[in-house]
Amino acid sequence: MRPALPSLALLVALTGCARVEASSQPLPAPAPWRVERPAACDSVPPGELGEKLAAARPGAVLCLEPGRHPGPVVVPGGVTVWGPRGATVHAQGAGSVITLAGAGARVLGLGVDGTGGRYDREDAAIAVRADDAVVSGVHIQNAVFGILVNQARRASITDNEIVGQRDVALGMRGDAIRLWETSHSLIARNQLRDGRDLVVWYSPHNVFTDNVATGGRYGTHFMHASDNVVRRGRFVGNVVGVFVMYSHRITIEDSTLLDCSTAGGMGVGVKDSGDVVIRRNTFVHDTSAIYLDNSPGQLDERDVIEHNRFQLNDAALVFRGIVRGNEVRLNDFQSNRDTVLVEGGGNAREALFAGNRFDDYAGYDFDTDGVGDVPHEVRSLSGQLASAHRELVFFRGTAALGVVEALGRLVPLFAPKTLFVDGTPRLVDATAGEERHAH
């Protein structure tokens, strides 16, 4: 469809761009999934977990001995199951492995290996079906679905490592984590590798912080899930980093959205949503860094895109449908093929652009106030042609399209249209000085 990009490493080498350093850093170390053994607990040898759980009362703490513990098991309310690194609960070929069925149930530290194989029944490593559940420091592998939280409040899903099946096609994997009709929960410091999605549907008022999702489909997918926060996330090599559908008051901040570079790749996608704040993030090598589809949908809503860094993306901002109500401020646009694309033609002049830095700004700053002396107006013929005729994307950077672009600026037949205007373009890093909290 489009020419393959050179490897990111090569691009970094060619551009020598320091901004990429943040994204080229090695991934954080695996989640600290060792959880200290509770001071007082009832030791459980392999083969006795089911029996012990059946007899457990609220407040009971069970500590697994190293070894293989057969599942499936159900953890009642108020009961804690802890395991060291060498203790794993194993699937027996059908159903979910561990179900947290009562309020305050906790699963700590242990490993879960496998699940049943039914996609149509959501065979999960851990299924949470009660309030105030805790799943922390758990290592999950070979599971169709990882952690499914269903109709719960105040769940705490932290420091887990969920490893999908890299050799299985993306569409054949299950969700790494799913929140369904779940609210006021904390999803933090989880490592999701080669799973499919982190799904958040019908689930308001949750915080997602310091999670790492790599090699999946949706790093996080909000559907009818308002008032959520994504903070310090690291989304690498997914089809989409964060996708927001039919949701409102979503904040995505201090996150890295890297290498969402497949045909439909997006760092952040926003569809029919509003009051979305996207700030202090780094977008690198995405097909579309931010894709705004008919958003903000409501007249009294606005989306704020500020203090972000965009580098080496096919397109930094892609608008479709509604443009008004979007405020693009103090961002840094460097080495993107297109800063702005408007699907279906038209322009982005109804969006507010202010104080951004553009690598193709051609003005001066004689008064040295850091702001360009003339507005940054992007009139792109090739962009507008390529928007209407995607085959021309192939020619970007070639002499042929360069001639068209140049002629378009000179003669009226192919008059380039103004895509957007930033009246106060900055000549220094527009995000500099802004406190960032990325990894």
């Binding site: 993306l170 019908y202 559907m223 009818h224 449908g321 068209v404 009226p412």
Partner: protein
């Protein structure tokens, strides 16, 4: 690619040439099309109207000069209008709205006795239903190819199916099964139009009884109806039709197998969770409950086997329909479930009959099933289990050829003749072209906005033509002049002839109802008549019982009222003065005795809610009570001749004696 590069070179040269001539002029910036100010050269016109070379190419590919006919006809559902819209391709000219479920005065549909009887076939007990929500048209097929003889269309709202003759583009039959309360997978035909499929959408007790929604799992059911089509009569034979009871999932679109999969049918479903709402009764809203499972079930139906079982007497009679009950279907190898990505829409059998494409609207892939693999699993009884109703479930991984990463929201797929598939991507608002053989994405094109279905020329037959694709988009947003909050839909014509990339050629607003699906047939396959034989009933295509010939016009008083035998011809009614007494029942029998191609007449009767369309040779009857005394002009409502205004008369209702 060399061709494409040459094309860009041509653009550059054209720009250079034009630039030399018009360097002093400015281009348009406001997004509107300019008004030509007298320029004559192509370059000048382009400059004045702000058109690019690509725009001009698109115009050249679609412009159809006066008198030239379109290569293809598209039959699109008319949504809430209850009609079918016929569009010429590539011109995108609307050629006709076919009245189906809704009265339509221009065609006199629902006003004369003949078409009123068709509408009445769709009534429910105690309710005259005069609207429909047309969803999926299906052209009749012979050996898996469109044959141009009939069109079928479903009404989702009222679970009805209609038959349209393409001899005259007139609706001739409607069936309204009592076992369904709504449908969606209607209509889809088997390869020789042996059966027309109608699939329920929202389950309900199929015996028509009352059961509270909390009894959903036990008493609510869906059904797939196989309507037997009698091609000789051009009518559905309800006595030879049957239904298959299916679980209370929400069944969606369908398709019939072809070639190697002939004899099988495939039906999508969602809500395998069996959610039924109750968001004010401490249950999750239906929307949430119905989308929780990661996978739903494609229903795989052996309809030939089902027909055998019905003929063996294994069906039950339920509300006048032979129904093969679910336990029988599950036990007798008629019905199987195959997991599919949740919330799917299209289930589309490829031209070879082997591959079946399914798109889950919340997925990024199209999933391609293999009929051969599924059949082997069935033959080997290799199932992963059974659903709550005892229907065997096939293993997902072993049922599919693979998945192709297309983008966000794959919804519906059709095919061309070069081994490519085309899938609409709802969330991305794009069309993806991909290789059916390699399961690889080739390219995408943007559409505007929120594409639903798409149609490729003959793209769901055994021998697709390709060439053109029409994207059926919802809510046109900024594509057209503002016409208020209710936006037109947008049909976009896409050129798929170029292997390098698809391109949008034309935007066509659809301003009457939300279209859902369309089929595109080669125009020369449709052999429409130009006139009726004298005195023809346009619904039955037989000679009308009350036909009137020139010279036999008369007014007769009979025990059941006043019978007026009238002819119409340019430019008069005979008789043109009708006298009745208040309270008399009036029977008008009107024949257009003309046999000229363009001699359609109307018959409008003021204040009596009557308008007939009388095409050449057509006969129509209408009966009403003359309950209001007075003087009522009647006139021809088609501009039929130079003396059209003079084609009038009077209907005089003498007050009843006090």
């Amino acid at each position: 690619m060399s061709t494409a590069r040459a094309r860009v070179g041509a653009i550059a040269l054209l720009a250079l040439a034009a630039g030399a001539a018009y360097a002093a002029c400015g281009g348009r910036q406001d997004g509107t099309s300019g008004t030509p100010t007298g320029g004559t050269s192509v370059a000048q016109l382009m400059q004045e109207r702000g058109l690019s070379e690509a725009d001009v190419q698109a115009a050249l590919k679609t412009y159809t000069p006066s008198g030239r006919k379109d290569e293809y006809l598209m039959f699109g559902s008319g949504g809430h209008s209850g009609q079918v819209v016929v569009v010429g391709i590539p011109s995108m000219r609307i050629l006709k709205y076919i009245a189906v479920f809704t009265p339509e005065p221009w065609q006199g549909y629902g006003f004369d006795e003949q078409t009123r009887r068709v509408l009445e076939q769709g009534d429910r007990p105690g309710e005259d239903i005069r609207w429909g929500d047309t969803h999926h048209p299906a052209l009749s097929e012979t050996a898996g190819d469109y044959d141009g003889e009939y069109l079928f269309i479903g009404d989702k709202a009222n679970a009805r199916l209609a038959v349209i003759s393409l001899k005259d583009f007139v609706t001739r039959q409607m069936v309204a099964p009592s076992i369904l309360r709504s449908d969606h997978g209607a209509a889809f035909v088997t390869p020789n139009t042996e059966y027309v499929m109608e699939t329920s959408q929202y389950p309900a007790p199929i015996d028509g009884s009352y059961a509270d929604v909390t009894e959903y799992n036990d008493k609510y059911r869906g059904a797939v109806i196989f309507w037997k089509f009698d091609r000789k009569r051009g009518l559905i034979d309800q006595t030879q039709s049957f239904a298959l009871e299916v679980p209370p999932y929400m069944q969606d679109l369908a398709d019939a197998g072809k070639k190697g999969s002939h004899g099988w049918a495939f039906v999508n479903s969602f809500n395998t969770e069996r959610s039924y709402g109750g968001n004010m009764e401490s249950r999750p809203p239906l929307e949430s409950g119905a989308s929780q499972n990661d996978m739903d079930y494609m229903h795989m139906i052996n309809w030939k086997r089902a027909a055998e079982l019905v003929s063996q007497g294994k069906a039950e009679e339920v509300q006048g329909m032979k129904v093969l009950r679910l336990p029988v279907a599950a036990a007798e190898g008629v019905l199987f479930m195959v997991p599919e990505p949740k919330s799917p829409h299209g289930v589309d059998v490829a031209p070879d009959g082997e591959s079946i494409a399914v798109g889950g609207k919340l997925d990024t892939h199209a999933t391609v099933y293999s009929f051969t693999q599924m059949k082997k699993l069935i033959d080997a009884k290799s199932f992963t289990g059974k659903d709550p109703y005892g229907v065997p479930i096939l293993p997902f991984k072993e049922s599919i050829r693979g998945q192709v990463d297309l983008g966000l929201g794959p919804l519906h797929t059709q095919f061309d003749g070069q081994g490519n598939a085309y899938t609409s991507l709802f969330l991305e608002t794009k069309v993806a072209r991909w290789s059916l053989k390699d399961l690889k994405l080739i390219d995408k094109v943007s559409t505007h906005y929120n594409i639903g279905h798409l149609a490729v020329a003959e793209g769901d037959t055994v021998s697709p033509d390709g060439k053109y694709l029409v994207a059926m988009n919802k809510w046109a947003l900024d594509r057209f002049a503002e016409v208020g909050p209710l936006l037109p839909q947008n049909f976009q014509l896409v050129d798929i002839t170029q292997p390098s990339a698809m391109s949008v050629l034309y935007d066509m607003p659809i301003p009457l109802g939300e279209p859902h699906y369309a089929q595109i047939i080669k125009a020369d396959k449709v052999k429409a008549m130009q006139i009726y034989a004298p005195g023809t009933d346009a619904v039955t295509h037989e000679k009308a019982a009350n036909v009137v010939t020139g010279g036999s016009e008369r007014i007769e008083r009979k025990p059941d009222g006043v019978h007026v035998y009238m002819t119409v011809v340019r430019s008069h009614f005979t008789p043109d003065t009708l006298r009745v007494k208040q309270g008399e029942t009036v029977h008008l029998h009107i024949t257009n005795v003309e046999q000229a191609y363009d001699a359609t007449h109307g018959f409008g009767l003021a204040s009596y809610n009557i308008n007939l369309s009388l095409e050449p040779g057509e006969h129509a009857d209408v009966t009403f009570v003359a309950d209001r005394p007075g003087v009522y002009p009647m006139y021809c409502t088609e501009f039929c001749s130079a003396l059209h205004l003079e084609m009038a008369g009077y209907f005089l209702v003498e007050p009843a004696a006090k």
